[in-house]
């Protein structure tokens, strides 16, 4: 994989920010888009746009074909047994809420348990809190080790005969920890619970095979994997999807509508009420094509190499604390850190002045911030268009930030 060649496909990267070449290290928040994705959107709107699944005119057929082809491509990308198990949503948050509404609220009873980790993104935490409140189920948390990993014996100790749902990120958006989902799913299944996986940080960066993971649901977002904003995916095992009621009711998702009752289309269309996100799905399919061409193993190895390099570079700077696992094999393509006596916002502002874009804040994981005993952290995240030189610039800018504040604070 040649990152320098890949960069040519990303027009946005070719610009100066505050007089410096842009170094974009915030792909975990949202990735940039290659020309191929932008072109797919343009082509769709200029030649094939119409509403889908209705009307018999030519454009309607073309749009429907492109939309359903996108579903097939996404299904192949995550190794889903069939395209009908891929539901298009607005993103990971909506996907997880659909499971919390359609599955948890429908099937959980008082005394049932939902098992999470305290490191979850708010989108894989708050929907379960709400579902627990609505059903009388309780939340339980698998304890985190100091480096952000979890131990399988703790998973086994937390999961009980009352556990109905285990929900966890595949890769932590703050610590980068890659969790052993298959092993955890086996623990969940042994007690009859389902395994819900937040794949927002894994599907863009690792080869993900839902059958190998044996997860019951997988949620992810298009915009973090080179696709447009506003499109996401919920994958589910067919038996659960068939058993679930739709979340939204209205056009597009119905079979027969009578005055006092109606029936729904089959999975997945019953979950896609209203005109679906047609262009978004087509853009996502172009992103999937792009990633498939490069190969997800190559993407994983590249991100991994950069994360290791960044870890080493930042570790050498006095006063920098890095959070998350030291073992590179347990870490996805990001590094979260703090600079002694410099708030993450201030670090980010100094880096921005050098053209380096990182994330600063609580990363939508307030409970985890409390465990780390920090109010905020800085996060640099990497993707296929980043290079070692980007990380050298990151390390140099972090040194600048440190020195600037040392000087300013006297």
């Amino acid at each position: 994989m040649n990152a320098l060649e890949i960069r040519k496909d990303f027009p946005i990267l070719n610009q100066l920010i505050n007089g410096h070449p842009l170094v974009y290290l915030d792909s975990a928040a949202s990735s940039q888009k290659p020309r191929q994705v932008i072109e797919a959107l343009r082509h769709y709107y200029e030649t094939n746009h119409s509403n889908v699944h209705r009307g018999v005119h030519t454009l309607g057929s073309r749009a429907t074909e492109a939309y359903e082809l996108a579903r097939e491509k996404v299904a192949r990308f995550i190794h889903a047994p069939s395209p009908e198990q891929v539901i298009f949503t607005r993103g990971t948050t909506e996907s997880l809420n659909m499971v919390a509404y359609g599955y948890a609220r429908a099937f959980l009873k008082p005394g049932d348990e939902i098992v999470l980790t305290p490191a979850e993104h708010h989108s894989n935490l708050v929907p379960w809190q709400q579902a627990a409140k609505a059903t009388g189920a309780t939340l339980k948390y698998i304890p985190l080790q100091a480096d952000g990993t979890i131990r399988l014996e703790d998973v086994r100790a937390t999961v009980s005969a009352n556990t109905k749902i285990v929900a966890m990120a595949h890769v932590s958006n703050v610590l980068g920890t890659i969790h052993p989902i298959r092993e955890i799913a086996d623990v969940a299944h042994a007690v009859g619970a389902i395994m819900v996986v937040d794949g927002a940080q894994s599907v863009p960066h690792l080869p993900v095979d839902v059958q190998a993971l044996d997860c019951d649901f997988l949620a992810f977002s298009g915009h973090k994997m080179l696709g447009p904003t506003g499109i996401g995916v919920l994958y589910g095992k067919r038996k659960w999807l068939d058993a679930m009621e739709p979340t939204y009711f209205g056009g597009e998702m119905i079979d027969v509508v009578e005055l006092y009752d109606s029936t729904w289309k089959d999975t997945p269309w019953k979950f896609e009420g209203g005109t679906p996100i047609i262009a978004g799905a087509i853009g996502l399919a172009a992103a999937v094509d792009y990633l498939t061409d490069i190969g997800m193993e190559a993407v994983r190895d590249h991100d991994h190499r950069l994360a290791e390099y960044a870890f080493q570079q930042l570790k050498e700077i006095d006063g920098v604390t890095i959070y998350g696992p030291e073992d590179g094999r347990q870490r996805g393509g990001l590094v979260t850190f703090n600079v002694l006596n410099v708030h993450a916002h201030d670090v980010s502002t100094v880096l921005d002045a050098e053209g380096v874009a990182i994330r600063a804040g609580h990363h939508c994981a307030q409970p985890l911030m409390r465990i780390l005993n920090v109010s905020s952290t800085a996060r640099a995240s990497f993707y296929l268009y980043n290079t070692e030189s980007d990380i050298d610039k990151l390390a140099a800018a972090v040194r600048t930030a440190k020195e600037f504040f040392q000087h300013a604070l006297g």
């Binding site: 505050n18 708030h343 993450a344 916002h345 201030d346 502002t349 100094v350 002045a353 600063a360 804040g361 609580h362 307030q366 911030m369 109010s375 905020s376 600037f404 504040f405 300013a408 604070l409 006297g410």
Partner: protein, 140 residues
């Protein structure tokens, strides 16, 4: 844009040595959070006969949010509530990049540079938001 325009010496001084820190047991208390970044402030105000007779704060956050809080407490302490609110209006106008009477703002003028860093404006206004809530609890 220059970092020195943002991080003026007086700001760094307030960040390092915040004024009027601590509790005020019998005062009005306003706890505010910037949900997007996690900055927190707890502002305590004592208002007697329409005057801010005492003010203290505690909090965690970046240099801009903490320095702005410290500078605000100095500016409003001993001032009539009306004057404090007038300063609030001037300060917010300055954050929007409007031309304002900088003499009236005194030291607060040092935060002028924040207006050129849109992502940081909410850091600077957090304490002022708390002030508004404290002295105008029934607004809206």
């Amino acid at each position: 844009m220059h970092l020195d325009d943002l991080y003026r010496q007086v700001i760094m001084d307030h960040y390092q040595h915040p004024r009027n820190q601590g509790e005020l047991p019998d005062g009005i208390r306003v706890d505010l959070k910037n949900p997007s970044c996690g900055d927190e402030i707890s502002l305590r105000l004592k208002v007697e006969n329409g005057v801010v007779s005492d003010v203290r704060f505690e909090g965690t956050g970046c240099s801009i949010s903490m320095a702005s809080a410290s500078m605000m407490t100095e500016a409003i302490k001993g001032q009539p509530v009306e004057t404090a609110l007038q300063l609030n209006r001037l300060f917010r106008a300055m954050m929007k990049g409007e031309d304002v009477d900088t003499d009236a703002l005194g030291d607060l003028e040092a935060l002028h540079g924040v207006s050129k860093f849109p992502a940081r404006i909410k850091c600077a206004t957090l304490a002022w938001q708390a002030l508004e809530k404290g002295v105008q609890p029934n607004r809206e």
